[in-house]
């Protein structure tokens, strides 16, 4: 009752309303205006930064694509000393190491996520999930160091002429990509409605039949995203790869043996050579050119992945008014 009377008095006395508005305007001071605009600026900063990164890569690296003949860019010789900048061996190197990492990491990551999500009792999950976060936290240089002092000699003992091979890199990269693959796959499994599992089990299917024929297919798009982001992670990794792949800029002979030869990736080439070049030289531009290639590849992968996520995983607007 009282509220209605209040409303009536408020409406019958416009001065009261105006007083409120005036007070609001006074409170809404120029300081707030500045703060709110700064926040808006911070909001769009991510776009500006991406644009700036691409701009500076182009600024320093476009000379490589303009001054080096296209045929040379795709030739198989990267000999900066003789001004030969064929990207092919580096692209093949990155490709081999990444494919190897994906082949190792995807089955391991998928099944580990299934274990964590469907099989492991809660107490195990409490221990294992932080452990996988720890793996994600180990600096790549530390894993590279271990690969260099411990893993490479081990692989050499298995019969390879050298321990520093594409396979060594793949193995380390696989473990670096695992946390990404596991956590995204697990989210995807978790998002599958419980009714699907109940329905399948009620029809007499075993747990394995339920997981393999109902849950995994339902989580398909999330799993695809997990694999893509894992690839993105692996292709951009630098230090570990630099230390354990042997850094030979040759195109390896194709076949299964290719994985057991030394290779050199795009990222490792930048890291190894940028320290020794004069800024502005063709070699310098060529290294930035590799950076452009890496930027475009990872940009493509991540844009596609976030598009796939966007369909089923759009975040709800919780607090905002």
């Amino acid at each position: 009752m009282t509220t209605k009377e209040d409303q009536n008095t408020l409406l019958s006395q416009p001065s009261l309303v105006w007083g409120k508005i005036r007070r609001y305007v006074r409170q809404y001071s120029w300081q707030e205006l500045i703060i709110e605009n700064l926040i808006r600026l911070a909001g769009i900063s991510a776009i500006l930064i991406i644009a700036l990164i691409f701009f500076f890569l182009l600024r320093e690296g476009s000379a490589a694509f303009l001054d080096i003949p296209l045929r040379q860019l795709f030739s198989s010789r990267w000999y900066p000393i003789e001004d030969l900048y064929g990207l092919w061996p580096l692209i093949v190197g990155s490709f081999l190491v990444t494919v190897g990492a994906v082949v190792i990491a995807v089955p391991l990551g998928l099944l580990t996520a299934v274990y964590l999500g469907e099989i492991a009792p809660p107490w195990q999950r409490e221990i294992l999930k932080p452990l996988i976060e720890v793996l994600a936290g180990i600096p790549s240089i530390v894993l590279g160091f271990l690969g260099w002092v411990a893993l490479a000699p081990l692989i050499q003992r298995l019969g390879a002429p050298t321990g520093l091979t594409a396979f060594t890199g793949s193995l380390i990269l696989a473990y670096m990509a695992l946390p990404t693959i596991i956590s995204i796959t697990e989210d995807a499994l978790y998002a599958v409605p419980k009714e699907y599992r109940d329905g399948s089990l009620a029809l007499g299917a075993t747990q394995w039949q339920t997981v393999s024929r109902v849950v995994l297919p339902a989580a398909r798009s999330g799993i695809v995203v997990a694999v893509m982001l894992g690839i993105g992670r692996a292709i951009g990794e630098t230090m570990a790869v630099l230390m354990v792949t042997g850094n030979a800029a040759n195109v390896p002979e194709l076949g299964a043996g290719a994985f057991f030869q030394p290779v050199r990736t795009m990222t490792a080439t930048i890291a190894a050579e940028m320290g020794e070049v004069a800024s502005g030289s063709l070699h310098y531009s060529a290294l930035f050119g590799i950076g452009i290639v890496l930027f475009v590849i990872t940009f493509g992968i991540n844009s596609l992945a976030s598009r796939l996520i966007g369909g089923n995983g759009r975040r709800g607007r919780r607090g905002q008014l």
């Binding site: 409170q27 707030e32 700064l38 926040i39 808006r40 911070a42 909001g43 769009i44 900063s45 991510a46 930064i49 700036l52 990164i53 500076f56 890569l57 320093e60 391991l108 580990t112 274990y115 099989i119 294992l128 996988i132 720890v134 793996l135 936290g137 180990i138 600096p139 790549s140 530390v142 002092v149 473990y175 695992l178 075993t206 747990q207 394995w208 039949q209 997981v211 993105g232 951009g236 630098t238 230090m239 230390m243 990222t267 890291a271 940028m274 320290g275 290294l287 930035f288 950076g291 890496l294 930027f295 990872t298 940009f299 991540n302 844009s303 607007r317 919780r318 607090g319 905002q320 008014l321």
Partner: protein, 281 residues
């Protein structure tokens, strides 16, 4: 029954695969701890390298990493938290917001070595900061941004809608509401995000290769325009570039780096879980 056997077999197989993933993690950490522990003494972390780095400690590299981590925090926090407030409180569901989110996802996916190239082109050369703590901190700060933004946004968005409704209905402005009713409840979550970002930055090598890291410096850096040694780069140098380096120092350095990064992660995890437990809504 055949499918029951398949079921049993599958469970055994999946458990074995999980073990293949988990056991190496434990082994790697145990290995580094066991190999490195005898070397890590008080002298090791407080004394400079001596005799062509084959003796002595890692103090300058450790200090450099501390400087860089602080610099990264200063560079990443205002921008990251500002962007998080924008996304959580101001952004509408429109094309601009979609592009911002796409940009953040892509920023997170750019290889760290490409950040290094950008830092070299933009900060070291174009802005003429030289190879310096400033250039390195800015580079690492930008790299850390996506982690800070997404965790902080989540923390801010998790504050219940009612807090805002009540504050606004009492006549507070939008910014007053955010400043006094939303942010205080989001602070622990924001801190978690910043520390997580820093733990990544502290262990990175590729972005600092050409922007700040020095092979060896006889003196400590005096200003933010000086070069600095840094722990991850130091580990790279002493394990691949210096011949005749004793393994003990390499393992000791790896252990110290691992401890720094993991303790930052641990702090972040503790803050996060203690907040979750204390939350009253």
């Amino acid at each position: 029954m055949k499918r029951q056997q398949t079921q049993k077999l599958a469970v055994v197989f999946i458990t074995a695969v999980a073990a293949i993933v988990i056991i190496p993690i434990v082994l790697v950490i145990a290995f580094i701890v066991l190999q490195g522990l005898p070397t890590v003494t008080w002298e090791f972390i407080t004394e400079p390298p001596q005799n062509g780095m084959t003796e002595g400690g890692i103090a300058p590299a450790l200090l450099g990493t501390v400087y860089l981590t602080l610099g990264t925090a200063i560079a990443a926090m205002p921008l990251g938290i500002g962007a998080a407030i924008y996304l959580a409180e101001y952004a509408r569901e429109n094309w601009l917001t979609r592009i911002i989110r796409l940009a953040i996802v892509n920023l997170a996916g750019i290889p760290s070595i490409v950040f290094g190239l950008f830092g070299l082109g933009a900060f070291v050369l174009y802005l003429n900061y030289g190879t310096s703590i400033l250039a390195g901190s800015l580079t690492l700060g930008l790299m850390t941004l996506p982690v800070v933004i997404s965790t902080a946004e989540e923390a801010i968005a998790a504050v219940p809608r009612e807090f805002r409704v009540v504050s606004l209905s009492l006549g507070a402005t939008r910014w007053q509401t955010i400043r006094h009713q939303v942010l205080p409840h989001a602070v622990p979550g924001i801190i978690t995000g910043v520390i997580l970002g820093l733990s990544r930055a502290a262990g990175e090598t590729a972005p600092i290769l050409f922007t700040v890291a020095a092979f060896y410096l006889p003196e400590l850096p005096k200003s933010i325009f000086d070069q600095a040694m840094a722990l991850p780069y130091h580990l790279y140098v002493i394990s691949t570039q210096v011949p005749g380096m004793p393994l003990s120092i390499q393992y000791g350095t790896a252990l110290v780096l691992l401890l720094i990064v993991l303790s930052l992660t641990l702090v972040a995890t503790i803050v996060r879980s203690s907040v979750r437990r204390r939350r009253q809504w």
